[in-house]
Every structure is written in C-alpha cells, then in structure tokens.
C-alpha cells in the first residue's frame, strides 16, 4: 500500500489519539513542539543512522546482587543484609572499577560476557538509579519509567513522545518496533504508531491460499474498509489506523527481513541460544536491523525478576533463578553485539537496560527479596565511555527508607534518558522530559 496515502488519510481524517486525560505535561510538550520548529529536530534524528535498543528487565532486578560490594565497610554492611543464602562470595565476583566513593565492586559471576565488554570499555555502569518518593508497585513504577513522569499520569511514553517530536511527518511504519506481542507504554504516541512484533515469521497478513487470484480483492477490500469514511468513534478510528499500520509494517518487514541471511552480510549469523528468551527477542531485533528499514528504536524485554522466593537455590547463592536470568542477559547481549559487528553496525548501536526498581537491602525469609528502590542500570555499546558512574547506594540503616529498607537513589533515571536523547538521538531532551537534567558523561 502507498504509505503516503496512508499517512495523508490519517491526517485528513482529523484523527488524533485520545486526548482525554492527556496530562498537563504532555499538553505542554505538544505546545512546545508546535512552537519550536520540530522540523529541525526531525532532521537531526533522521540524518544519523544510530539505533537505540532498550532492554527491559521486568519484575524488579536485584541490583545489589548484580553489582556487588567486594570489600570495605560496604561489604560488611552487605553481609549483614545478605545472609549466606543470597550472599555472593567475594572470590566469585568479577571485579570492576571502584566507584566515585572508592567502593570496591564486582559483577555477579554469571556476567562473564558483560565483564569482557566492560574490560573493552564498552559498558557504562550507572549506579543508584531511581526517582524521588519511590513507588513499590511494579505497575505504577513501570509506568513511571515508561512515561518519564514520577508524579503524574501520562497516556504517552517517552520514546513515543520522542518519535512524535523528532519525526513529525514520519511515513516509515518501522521507524521503531517493540519485540513481543504487547506494545510497551514507552512507545505509545499521539501521532506515531509503533508496531509490536511478536514473531517476524508470522507477522504477515494472510488470505485464503486456495484462492490466490482472490487475494488482491480481499486486500483491496480490507484497505478500503479501514480507509473509508467520515471519522466515527475515536475507537473505530484507532482500530482502523492500527489495521493499516499493521498491513504496511508487515509488507516492509517481510521485504527487509530477508537481508539478514541472504548474503548481504557475511554468513553465518552467530547462534542465538533458543532456550534464552531474551536471546530470541534480540535475534528478532537483529533481523529488523539487518533490513536497513530506517528503524531507530527497538524495545526488547525479559521477565522473571520478581524474585520473592527462589532467587537463589537453598544455600547455593551462585545458583537459582536470579543467576539464570543474569546469565541470559549477559549471553543475549553478547550474541547480539557479535551479530551487529558482523553487519558492520556495532558502532551504530547503543543498548540501555532498565528495571522498574531494585530490591530491598535485607533478604526476606524465603531465599528471596521484596520490592525496593534504587538499582544500577547499564549502557552498552562501542560508543559508550565505559566505567562506573556515580556511587553505590549507601547501605547504612539510617540511609535506607525507614519503612521499607530500600536503598535511595542518587541518579535520576531521567538523567540517563536525557543523556541518550541529547548525545545519541540528537533530540532536545527538555522537550521530551519537560525540563533539563544534568547529563552523565557516558557518551
């Protein structure tokens, strides 16, 4: 289908997404967009061929057992909270640099690949990331990270806002994509529809294969049914627009995906471990990137980090579910970056991990940990200035939140967003985030 027609139709139909409940912040954002010559911004994002890959660790990753105190008073406090059940022994940690307060630190022993990337100075460890007045609900806190708004309720996400701002006349149905069936709130936008792609192989519009000569008739009718008419209800228009975007994106995607292994790039691609769900998702992301489809932002996720019990196997702190998950993260990112190198795109890719919160300093009584607050996040790529940024959160009892024993943040997650917006995506961060934040020098 002609994409210009599709977008023109959407514009002509006067349709914009539900404005009901649009927050004041989002309202001001859109007013700012109108006033500030968004076209200049668009040129910036379109002109570079950088790709931003967001890796969501869903459930609340235990940051304290991801970047672990390796010595000094911080280690003593760590050992008070983490009993032998969940305590990672010093000898097993993979040492990294000391932080700004000279705390000795190490990665979880499962992070061998990430450690090797770290040694090549391709990993930024951003310590103590969070936001004021932490919310301990998975769902509220995820929404806060998705919308970059810790106080209000927005209906659009920070990546969706970025696309609306930087690509106001976008006609590319694959300007961004979420790998997985659901569309994360990060990608919800007022203007841009971002596809959710559960499985590239089946992401195609099917017709009855027994009547191939009728296929085009059905497709024509399908498009006409979704293009037609005076706008009805907002909901009808939303479904129509999504139907048309689904059709356009599957056409583009199927055309581009073939390049992954048709000889365009050196063969064979690296082997992604199919037992690792994050590796499977990142493989699909790599297949989209291979198509050179102008995709700027990709979102993948791995669930299972809500480790209230069974975080470690009884009395085997190096085994158990958290170790498995961290091993998957390390392996998936490693394979993905190998693949990017194969395609000659490793300089063009930046990864950022995030999780809605860390976990409490003390473990609970069931080989697990309950919901906490601040935790480290990681930025990875050839362009990253590797190292440790900020300080490990204080573990002194008096420095924890009194009702929850959760650690306090020192870096606002929006500082990380702002840095990526400014230095990687070349977008004015204040217009996306509503104000300026101090940048972190990892790019």
């Amino acid at each position: 289908m002609n994409k210009t027609t599709r977008r023109e139709f959407i514009k002509k139909s006067g349709f914009t997404m539900l404005t009901v409940g649009l927050s004041q912040q989002a309202f001001f954002r859109s007013m700012n967009m109108a006033a500030s010559g968004a076209l200049t911004q668009a040129a910036a994002l379109s002109a570079n061929d950088r790709i931003f890959v967001v890796v969501q660790l869903e459930g609340g990753n235990d940051g304290l057992n991801t970047v672990v105190p390796r010595g000094g008073s911080l280690r003593s406090l760590y050992e008070q909270y983490r009993k032998p059940t969940l305590r990672i022994p010093v000898a097993d940690l993979l040492p990294i640099n000391n932080d700004a307060a000279n705390n000795q630190l190490g990665f979880h022993p499962q992070w061998t690949h990430i450690k090797s990337l770290y040694d090549q100075r391709k990993v930024g460890v951003i310590q103590s990331v969070g936001y004021p007045n932490p919310n301990y609900s998975h769902f509220r806190s995820m929404d806060i990270w998705h919308t970059a708004n810790p106080v209000g309720y927005d209906t659009t996400g920070w990546l969706g806002d970025t696309l609306d701002l930087a690509e106001p006349s976008n006609t590319n149905p694959l300007i961004a994509a979420a790998i997985g069936g659901s569309l994360p709130l990060s990608f919800v936008a007022r203007e841009t529809t971002v596809p959710a792609i559960g499985n590239i192989a089946t992401y195609r519009f099917q017709t009855d294969t027994r009547y191939p000569a009728d296929a085009q008739n059905r497709i024509n009718a399908f498009i006409a049914l979704n293009q037609e008419g005076a706008p009805l209800r907002v909901l009808v228009e939303q479904i129509r627009r999504t139907n048309l975007d689904a059709f356009a994106s599957q056409e583009t995607l199927q055309a581009g995906r073939a390049r992954y292994d048709d000889g365009t790039y050196p063969q064979p691609p690296p082997t992604y471990n199919q037992a690792n769900p994050l590796a499977r998702a990142m493989q699909q992301a790599a297949q989209i990137i291979a198509g050179n489809l102008g995709t700027k932002i990709l979102h993948v996720m791995l669930g299972g980090f809500d480790t209230h019990e069974g975080q470690a196997t009884a009395n085997k702190p190096l085994e158990g579910f958290h170790a498995l998950l961290l091993g998957w993260v390390s392996e998936a990112i490693h394979t993905f970056l190998q693949d990017m190198k194969r395609m000659g795109k490793d300089d063009k890719v930046l990864l950022m991990t995030w999780s809605e919160f860390g976990r409490k300093a003390p473990e609970n009584g069931n080989y697990g940990t309950d919901h906490g607050a601040a935790a480290p996040l990681f930025v990875i790529g050839n362009s990253v200035k590797g190292g440790v940024f900020g300080e490990h959160p204080s573990l002194r009892k008096s420095d924890l939140y009194p009702d929850t024993d959760a650690m306090k943040h020192t870096i606002d997650f929006r500082q990380v967003y702002a840095t990526i917006l400014e230095k990687w995506l070349a977008v004015d961060s204040a217009e996306v985030l509503g104000r300026r934040f101090e940048l972190i020098p990892f790019l």
Binding site: H138, A196, A213, Y401, D403
Partner: protein, 520 residues
C-alpha cells in the same frame, strides 16, 4: 441519541454475556429489559450445563478413567499438554454454550482481577481455581461441587471473596504466601501476597477518583504479618495439594495495625478492615470505589465518571439497601434501568464502545456463527488457541490461564496494536476458511440455506448476502460505503466459481477484521 429498546437489549446481551443472536434480541425485547436483567443476574434459576473435566488419557502407565486430579506428579507432567488442551477447551466451551452467561463473564472477570498464571503453577491448581471462581470449589475442604448458596464466588459477599481468595491454592503458591511465616514485629517472611491484596485485589495504589494513596508501606508489612501461616495442606504422599491450611505455629497472632486499625488473632479480621476502610473525608469505602471502578470498566466503559463509581460504591456499602459488599447487587445496579449507573451503562457513550478482549472476540464469533467443533476437534482448538496457526488467542494477547503478570491483562486500547490486530485478521481468515464442519469449520451452506440465501445451489445476490452477515455479526446496519465495499468484493472476479467457499467465506473473513466487529 438515546438507545431504543432493541439496542438496549442487544447491548445488555453483549456485555452481560458474550454475544447477541437475532432470536435472543427478539426474545429479550418481548420479555422486557427488567425481566431479562433478572434472568442474567439470578442465573442459578437456569440449570448449569457445564461439562466435567475429561479424564486423563490412558498412556504412560495411567490406568483408564483416571482423573487428572489423581495423577502423580510424574504422570501429570507426562500428560501436561493434553490437560492444558482439555482445560482451555472446557472453559471456552463453557463460555460458548453456557445458559448462564453472566456467571461465566464473572469467572473471566475474577481471572483477570485475581490473576495467577499456569506458567508458574501446577495446571490442576488453575483448574481448581477456575471452579473456585465459578463457585464450584471450596479450598477449606478441597471439594469440588456445584454452587452452594453460601459460596461467595462469583457474585456473593466481597469480604468473603477476599478470604476465599487468600485460601485459594493457586494464589497461595503464585504469590508465595504458602511460605509466609512469622518473622518479627515488623513484617512476615514474605510480603508478596499482602502487597498485591491491597494493591491489585481490593483497594488499588490510588483512589480512582481523588488519586490519593489508599495504603502505606507499613500497611503492606503489617498485613503480611496477619497472613503468616496461611498456607496449603501438604500431602504426605504425592497426591495433589488441594486444601487450605491455617498453620498456627507459623502464624503471628499480632497485634498488628493495618489501615489505622489495630487487631490480632488468626488474621481474618484483615478482610473486614479492608472492605470497611474509608479515606479521610470520604463517604464511600475505598474498596467500594475500587470495585465500582473495576466492574464498570469491565462491563461499561474505560473511564467511568466519579458519580458512577460512587453510586456503585454506595451499593457496595449498603446505602441502597440490601446486603453490604454484595457483588450481585452491584451487577443489578449496573444493568437495571432507572438509576445513574445504568443510565451510564445504556448511554450512547457506552454503546459499541468496548473493545472485545480476545476471549470475547472468539466466544462472540462462535456464539454467532455456531461452528460446533470445539468440543470434539483438536484442529479447531489449535486454531482458536493459535497453536497451529500462530494467529489465535496467544497471538491476540490473551492466553487463558496465562495472564502476563499478577495485574492481569491490560484491557481496552491495550488489545489494539499491530501484532494483535494482525493476529485477529489471520484468525478470521483461518476460522472463516476452515471448510469442514466436522473439523470445527463454520457450516456456511446450512447458514445460507436456513436463511433463504441458497436455493437449488443458487446463491442470492451479493447485496442480500452482505446484509445478512453484517446484521448477524454486528447487530446494526453498516454505512453505505462499507456495504458497497463488501458488495464490490463479492462481485470482483476471484478465479473460481466456488462462490460459497471463496467469496462467502472471504466475506466472513473481512467482516471479522472490521473495526466494528472488534467492538461490543
């Protein structure tokens, strides 16, 4: 524009049930709205036609006629796929064929609100929970049986629903409360369930009207103490665990303080405190508002007005007379004409403004087009679930017994994205073009014949075929332009003379992809 009676009847049938067939609309109009509401809400007056869970297949050393519930763990794993298939088919069939649509709608509601997932549990606990939500299982005794009048699920006393939920075997495992034991005067050993009980199951993080926080972190930790020792009865041998157990030696008898009330004892008082809790300056209970919001969102529309939430909360609080905390009274309030809540329910804003969940999408398709194969055809089950076609419920985003997380499915506009929409389009194609009725396909020939659209092998003109199927599936006329698009499709040469299998089935495919068919 106010709805006419026929529209109201169709609207009620779609929302309180799963679909409105032409003869059901006709009967409803003849009966009148109040009588129809009574039939739906007092569903016990109709016989329960729910089938039993089939026995396990006699394989891997399992004797014939053995219930899945009696298998050893090893046997259970050896027939896992077969059990999952039987459970999903049983539940879907219940929704498709039920004579008690509102009962089944409420089972789906509780499954979404009190979400646990088969991904982390023994599937048989999910089956027991499904029957628990239907009112057919008692975790105190571990017995399955038909609805007793005192059973709180699915439409009874919400305080008791919360107590039953806290004893539900799947829930005890899913949110770890079976491990929650006395720790210290601050917190139990595991706060997972206590947190979700307050956050997701009874109050919500924030009040849906004022946005004020409903509880504090101290409330979560104190509530976790009150629920210590609420666990399962472990079996000595390898039999399936199916009973709640109050382990007094692991229980912290308090006193604890939750929502500004101090109490002690076995923990049950926690539920009284939750349902009675009022935020300062509020007339309605916080729990009543939470449920008013959730129920109206499920049956009405996404953003209920404060007046509607408060009116339903008043019903919950007993202000409108009758028992307090009663779910059935709230449902009656939503559906019975003549009050502010039902005015909203029968308003133009609500009409055709609910995005069908994948379950509603599929069940409505089956109730309207009546393919019969789901009960006996593996093929159609695979099509519906998406196991073979990659376009069924899994790909539409709703796999029964497997909600994505403890918050259940996000509904409304979250059902709409490119991936989910393609899955609906492709399910429509597969389902519409599945030819053999014996395999679960739609019997298009019989449908056409029974409605005078196929005589002596001659198909009626495209206009009549289009009008018949759009009316059957959408219960309303389509725009002139849409009608013409569909007629043009019927008349466009498609390379075959088999008009029924090519064009009529193609028409079904197209109607099922239309935005109007995604709405109820």
């Amino acid at each position: 524009m106010p709805l006419d009676t026929k529209d109201k009847v169709a609207h009620l049938l779609r929302r309180a049930g799963f679909a409105a067939r032409p003869e059901e609309i006709e009967q409803g109009v003849a009966k009148g709205l109040p009588a129809l509401v009574d039939d739906l809400v007092n569903f016990e007056k109709f016989p329960d036609n729910l089938g039993p869970l089939p026995n396990a297949p006699a394989q891997n050393g399992i004797p014939p006629n053995t219930s899945y519930l009696d298998l050893t763990t090893q046997q259970y794993f050896s027939v896992y796929g077969s059990l999952l298939n039987d459970m999903q088919r049983l539940w879907l069939n219940a929704m498709i064929t039920t004579t008690r649509p509102l009962q089944e709608k409420m089972v789906l509601f509780w499954h979404g609100l009190f979400a646990t997932s088969g991904a982390d549990l023994d599937l048989r606990h999910m089956y027991l929970q499904n029957e628990h939500f239907r009112g057919n299982f008692d975790p105190n005794t571990g017995r399955l049986g038909r609805l007793a009048a005192t059973h709180p699920f699915p439409v009874g006393n919400f305080r008791n629903i919360l107590e039953n939920l806290s004893k539900d075997i799947a829930m005890l495992f899913y949110l770890d409360n079976f491990l929650n034991v006395k720790l210290n005067a601050d917190v139990g050993s595991n706060e997972n369930y206590a947190r979700e009980l307050l956050e997701l199951f009874s109050l919500g993080v924030n009040d849906p009207i004022t946005g004020e926080p409903n509880y504090t972190e101290v409330d979560v930790r104190q509530a976790s103490r009150a629920l210590t020792g609420w666990t399962v009865l472990f079996e000595r041998d390898d039999r399936l665990i199916r009973q709640f157990f109050f382990n007094s030696s692991a229980h912290d008898f308090g006193p604890y303080r939750v929502l500004n009330r101090s109490f002690s004892g076995d923990g049950r008082q926690l539920f009284d405190i939750i349902v009675n809790h009022r935020n300062p300056g509020q007339q309605q209970s916080a729990c009543g508002r939470f449920l008013g919001y959730r129920l109206f969102k499920f049956f009405g529309y996404d953003d209920p007005e404060p007046e509607v939430i408060n009116d339903l909360a008043d019903t919950f609080d007993g202000v409108h007379g009758g028992d307090r905390y009663n779910i059935r009274a709230m449902l009656r309030r939503i559906f019975t004409p003549g009050n502010p809540t039902s005015e909203a329910f029968y308003s133009d804003k609500a009409f055709k403004a609910h995005i069908k969940s994948p379950t509603e999408y599929i069940v409505s398709t089956f109730r309207l087009l009546r393919p019969t194969g789901l009960a006996n055809s593996q093929l159609v089950t695979q099509v519906v679930l998406g196991l073979r076609t990659f376009s069924g419920m899994i790909q539409m985003g709703q796999y029964l017994f497997f909600p994505p997380n403890v918050a259940g499915w996000k509904e409304g506009l979250d059902w709409i994205n490119t991936s989910f929409n393609l899955a609906r389009c492709n399910f429509a194609n597969t389902m519409a073009t599945l030819v053999q009725p014996a395999q679960g396909g739609i019997d298009v020939h019989s449908l056409l014949q029974a409605n005078g659209l196929l005589t002596n092998g001659q198909l009626a003109p495209a206009e009549r075929v289009v009008d018949f199927f759009t009316t059957l599936l959408l219960q309303a006329p389509v725009s002139a332009q849409t009608r013409q698009t569909l007629i043009n499709y019927m008349n466009a040469p498609g390379g075959s003379t088999d008009m029924i299998n090519m064009k009529v089935r193609g028409l079904l495919h197209l109607i099922m992809t239309m935005p109007e068919f995604q709405l109820s």
